[in-house]
Symmetry: C2
Subunit: 295 residues, 2 copies
């Protein structure tokens, strides 16, 4: 793979996820912490109006607008649809981008700790995962490589390589010091990796790295009128990345009943009870644990 | 004091505090859990439009509109100002209310557990505090009796007696099962107390009860441009109702410095890093511990 020359650190893709927004402010005042030998590192505040309105988004989720189809559809013209086109022009265009690498900073209300979401499992990314885990064992690697990077709708798919840094638990519109520091530390390790990768000076890496491979998303149960009739079960709440066995309860019904996990595999829930996912009535994402050999 | 004949349980005074809203739905389907001998118990969904918009409020905080001055000012006509007048007409009017007792259900993003906020320290309330602690030792009693109940701006001040049930930690726009159950249990004990009080059948109560008496509110530090320059210190985060000694750090500055508690008393912070209080740039409330004799 070619060297990474230019990096864009994106904050505020969702306007009420404050850690990235505050880190951007900090780095815009003093960029020493994000500068690396051989790299041009810029910052981009993605959804400024959503932040001013203290909302995730004004019209639609900015982080789902970056497919070729949506970027090229001139009839899509609301705030986030427009913002996506502007960002794509600024650091893209997708498929032939000026920027080489995007680090997109996000928060979750779920108890996911410092998570790194990767969208492809190529050698470059697997080595990055191994490097990050080597230097920050508390970090968690999520692999979402079901479809090619170029077909992903996420902002970080503008560039050929890019990642999502996802840190929680943090309520929307709040800054927690622990979460802020996790995000800063994780971002720092990614930048270190890029510098060392470019210079061909990576340290000896472990032979394998454990990742959580996304499998499916569970919804909240509804009645025939579309009203929610249950919530995430207390046994699952806050237990992100803990094993969920077939038969374990996952949903507590308001009438006192419960729904159990009926899959045929040991699942690792994450994004458990994420506030932003209520819009789509989602209860949690599931993953399988997978061990990747480091090339 | 006269008997309590009619009780109004209010949910959704803030549209993104879901526990009360979901409990109301549950009780509207099946009211057995809130019916008590000798009491008429009704429910009221206060800020319906804020809930539909998934926000705390549309125009202003509904739970600050219930002073006589604001209720009587016809020029105050935005959504929440109007909603306050309608609610006051429905279960008030304040000072001569049809309802005798309001239980107003709230959530906080702070780690406050099941908290009961009382606005006056009369015998009726102190006995209630003692009864609640006797049956739910994990409950916390907050006393905000600096000004007379009748001068308070809160919705529950419409009636001569009324309380705020405040339960967290729960992110805005999320339902946690543990928080929902705490709120239901605390509300149930309050209703039990009212029934027993009316019937003069209260059990023997402890001789004293510990409460947290509100003293003051700390703000987040800002620079000369009004931009925040610090956040709640990690040593304080989630430590609601834990002793804060003079000299203890309370704020972490983004530049690496810190601000310490400079008061002359041992303070008990609560509403620590509450999301909704960022609007007013508040970091936390403080209290002193106080032991009240039960009459």
């Amino acid at each position: 793979m070619d060297k990474i020359n230019s990096v864009t650190i994106v904050g505020g893709t969702h306007g009420n996820e404050y850690s990235g927004i505050y880190l951007l402010r900090k780095w815009q005042k003093s960029s020493a912490a994000i500068q690396r030998e051989g790299l041009t590192v810029d910052t981009l505040f993605a959804n400024t109006s959503a932040f001013e309105n203290n909302k995730r988004y004004l019209d639609c989720d900015l982080n789902r607008q970056f497919t070729h189809e949506r970027l090229n559809d001139r009839t899509l013209s609301n705030y986030e649809e427009s913002r996506a086109k502007v960002i794509n022009a600024q650091i893209g265009p997708k498929g032939a981008a000026k920027s080489d690498f995007i680090i997109d900073l996000h928060n979750t209300t779920s108890n996911m700790g410092p998570s790194l979401i990767l969208l492809q499992s190529d050698a470059f990314n697997v080595k990055m995962a191994a490097y990050v885990k080597q230097h920050m064992p508390e970090a968690v690697i999520i692999m979402e490589d079901q479809i090619p990077m170029d077909e992903q709708p996420y902002l970080c798919s503008i560039t050929k390589q890019g990642v999502i840094v996802e840190v929680g638990p943090q309520p929307q519109s709040v800054i927690r010091q622990d979460v802020l520091e996790w995000m800063e530390t994780l971002t720092t390790h990614i930048l270190d990796y890029l510098e060392l990768y470019n210079a061909d000076k990576l340290p000896a890496l472990p032979a394998s790295v454990e990742v959580y491979e996304y499998t499916e998303t569970l919804t909240l149960p509804m009645d025939e009128h579309g009203e929610r009739i249950g919530m995430v079960h207390r046994n699952v709440q806050d237990q992100d990345f803990k094993a969920l066995n077939p038969g374990d309860p996952i949903i507590a019904l308001f009438d006192g009943g419960e729904i159990c996990w009926e899959g045929d595999y040991v699942a690792y829930p994450h994004f458990i009870n994420e506030a932003a996912y209520y819009d789509n009535n989602l209860a949690m994402s599931l993953a399988k644990k997978r061990v990747l050999e480091v090339p």
